[in-house]
Amino acid sequence: MSPSKIKFFLLNFLLFTVSLNVFGQTTISGFVEDAHTGEKLINAGVISKTQNKGILTNNYGFYSFSVKNEITKLQISYIGYETKHISIRSEQDTLINISLKPDNTIDEVLITANKAKNRVKSSQMSTLEIPMKTIKILPVFLGETDVLKSLQLMPGVHSGSEGSSGLYVRGGGPDQNAILLDGVTVYNAYHLFGFFSIFNGNALKNVKLIKGGFPAQYGGRISSILDVRMKEGNTKEFKGEFSLGLISSKFTLEGPLKKDKTSFILTGRRTYIDILAKPFIKMADADTDAGYFFYDFTTKINHKFSDKSRLYFSTYTGKDKFYTKYTENEGDMIGKSENFLHWKNITGALRWNYMFNHKLFSNTTFTGSSFNFSTGQKNKESYENEFKEVEFSYNSGIKDISLKTDFNYIPNNDNYIKFGVSYTNHVFNPGVNIQEVKSNIDSLESVNLSFGNKNIHSDEFSAYLQDDIEWNDFIKTNIGIRYSAFYVNQKFYGTFEPRISFRFLINNNISLKTSYSRMAQYLHLLTNSTVGLPTDLWLPVTDKVKPQKSEQIAFGFFYNINIKFDFSAETYFKTMDNLIEYQEGASFYSAIGNWEDKIEAGKGRAYGFELLFKKKTGKTTGWIGYTLSRSERQFENLNFGNWFPYRYDRTHDFSIVVTHHFSNKFNIGANWVYGTGNATTLARSKFSSVFVNYLEGIIDNYSSLYLYNFEKRNSYRMPAYHRLDIAFNFEKQKKRGKRTLSFGIYNAYFRLNAYYLEYNDQENRMDKVSVFPAIPFIRYNFEF
């Protein structure tokens, strides 16, 4: 599309939407918040029964609703809160902030039913949201509440490998998910080699995963958007929470710095495997020390300048470290060696919300994000006054600085326009080896060498415009266009990304939806496909490595059966271009040569069918999800150019999630999952072949070279995966707060799922290695 055509399109688009503005109406706008904490409520429903229209609050609790110059009754509702009804006769635009009272005793039927109807009526499809309240009841791995693991229980999403928090969404890879914490990109969202996500459940307000039908406001990745929003902090009173788990403890503190004006929230978490294991390691070998820990801290401060203006500042810092230390003393000679592996995420966001008028709301954000991975070895030898230190390390990482501004313009109740621009500067460190020698010995020269890939600087830009249009009672569309661009090494890439979603409402409880979206991604994650480690490298597109692009179409059927049950079915087809993989036999642990020479570029396709049946109300709630899917890859130089199953292709994926409240004091959560085993490459046979002896320089027909015959890539399946997790939660109201004691078991019936397969030469068989046979957990939580 040429620039002149774009201008023409935008001009007509704006004129068209403005023409829809109806005179003789006024606008009521404001924020919906929790009456007790002041937390803004995301996606709260503001509904006019008289006009049969409704709107949802945005990510900052803002709503804008056009009413006629007559008495209008508005109903404001949100799950877990009392519904509020207000009657308004407004002759001029009015700002009304609405506070909703939490009420755990309320029958949630009405509210949930409204929510379900929103799902049916919305133009958005392929979106998953699990309330934090539900996530906290579900069984958890080693006692750690994990939003990513909860999302893995939904159709179209799975974990990849046992215990992992990774998200594989609709056949895409883990790099194809934009993981946004308060709008800031998080590059490695995992602790403990992927077994835990970095998100501390106590700090989170809302989690939304978009799998398809992407609104134009989202971009940068081709498979999914995970939008995680942190709490803002209680503006009314000081509150806190702490919990003790098997391997970690965490705390949350929040409260007003100035009542109703400024608030903060602070959360922290640290594991103590290292501290608890230290005495046992010392007992085994006094000269050895080894350990692993991770910690993370989140902070958020927000200040309200006025009803129209609010400033937020939030940060996240998290680090994982694994180390071994060894000390050797021989007389005056002291030797120390240390091996280490650590990775660290830091993000920060400064956000300014401003309401220009009753129809126009803006959010401007300045963010920074950094991810660093480092591994290596340090050796120090000292003898009397002399010393020598030798360090070898491998470092990689990425740093971003970003500025973006987004506008919500609501000209009337039939149009919801969003537009915005963003700019990001990326600095990639694609892997550098550093060798350093320090010494005070005269005969030894100090050395400080670094070799490997140079840092790569790049700029990313995007702009979007979208309108959610309600054409009539039946048809609603979301039409948008996004333009993204990337500049690196004097090479420019630009992509138009059209997005459209269409909803046809058959009746108030049934709708059909379809969507098309084109996505572009200018970053690649180069990963050794057999493991998911922080060693995976984030890399930019270059003049040789092109942007990843995907196109996805989806169709869906949404049925709100009654106030208790709803059902949805979706099918999708997705193509992916310019995917990258290591060349066969290549690995990350070498900075020799350019990384671009180690990779292959190819394409992928994924298609599937997803069913979701939910019970929303009553003492027993939960869902059943099923996915039938296929995900394949093709690379010219892998598998001899033939299509092969993606490693995490999962034909069948089934999950049942149930929570049951026996009383206000006792509830249980359980889930059972079943999935087809991961695709894997196995050699069934060996054979001898032509001997090209590189040492002797011989090419010989008569061979002593034995080769493994792997036949086809990923042509075998690991045994099917299934497990049952159960959690029991005992809640008690104490004098100073609420205590929750949770215990349960992960993999309750001891299913030995395969983590990987290994040849057993002694027994002449293939073995599966299982890492989590059954793991009990216990957690103590106290809110005050």
Partner: protein, 298 residues
């Protein structure tokens, strides 16, 4: 004390990975003919036939199953030219000396095995134009090291080569034609490469030769170099073998199981079978280095 006990119990579960039999049957493999033959105009065509064996049959490598009663038919440019005779072990021999530019194909039938077919050409010999050297100041075991320059003219079109430094004690190269995953800095006296970087041009291949065993050769030394022109099939096979060969450990499965690398599929041009049927031709040239440039006299 109670809490650490709970922790230790939990940790014990975590770290004690279980190993149990997987329900995957790898033992029942089909019989499949493994055909190996690389041939050049310098000798008659020989073909080696064996069976594959189960990856779990560790002892089989010492006791291979040769195919001794197969029918092996050889064709030259699609015309039958010979029926190969079994000699010993896996070897079948023909009386045919391959011709440059001709296509050779082979059909093998053996009872109990699917028949196999393979074909390949013998590529044109690409002569070495010149071999020159440049003495390095670096001294290694009393002898100078030398940069050796092997010049040849690549015919237009895709061509594949294998270079062999016959007489040195080991050579290194940083020449860009060498595949990244062959060690650039290690001993590397034979390597395969293609002409992507110099298609149709004269190219000067550069290696650094270690001539330490000639340290006392006052009369000088003659060093020989081979430039094999190899077929695309043979090149692709070599590339996959290189990739599967372990780089940091003796066992590919140690790498594979630890998740450090993806397993590599070995290329074969034997239809319904395994192995390689590849043609090549050889150019050879030599270089004389006088003693004065060979020996480092203190």
């Amino acid at each position: 004390m109670k809490y650490p006990l709970i922790f230790i119990t939990g940790l014990a579960f975590l770290i004690n990975a279980c190993r149990t039999p997987a329900d995957i049957d790898l033992e029942d493999i089909d019989d499949k003919i493994v055909l190996n033959s690389i041939y050049s105009p310098d000798s008659c065509i020989k073909i080696y036939l064996q069976n594959q064996y189960s990856v779990l049959d560790g002892g089989r490598a010492d006791n291979p199953e040769y195919l001794k009663q197969a029918e092996v038919y050889l064709y030259e440019d699609n015309v039958p030219v010979d029926t190969l005779q079994h000699t010993i072990d896996a070897e079948y021999i023909s009386e045919i000396y391959p011709k440059i530019g001709s296509k050779y194909s082979v059909d093998v039938h053996a009872q109990g095995y699917p028949s196999v077919h393979a074909e390949d050409i013998v590529p044109e010999t690409v002569p070495i134009d010149t071999v020159t050297y440049e003495r390095f100041s670096y001294v290694y075991y009393h002898a100078y090291q030398h940069k050796i320059f092997i010049s040849f003219t690549d015919p237009p079109g895709k061509n594949y080569y294998m270079f062999y430094d016959i007489d040195s004690n080991g050579s290194q190269s940083t020449d860009p034609v060498i595949d990244e995953y062959k060690p650039k800095h290690g001993y590397n006296i034979i390597f395969a490469f293609n002409d992507e970087l110099f298609d149709g041009q004269t190219y000067e291949l550069e290696i650094i030769s270690n001539l330490s065993s000639y340290w006392n050769r006052e009369e000088g030394a003659v060093l020989r170099y081979k430039l094999h022109s190899i077929s695309e099939e043979f090149y692709t096979f070599c590339k996959s073998v290189n990739a599967q060969s372990p780089k940091h450990t003796d066992d590919i499965f140690e790498l594979y199981s630890s998740g450090i690398t993806e397993p590599v599929l070995i290329y074969s041009n034997v239809e319904d079978g395994l192995g390689i049927f590849g043609g090549y031709s050889t150019a050879i040239d030599s270089l004389f280095i006088p003693g004065s440039d060979l020996i480092n006299t203190p």
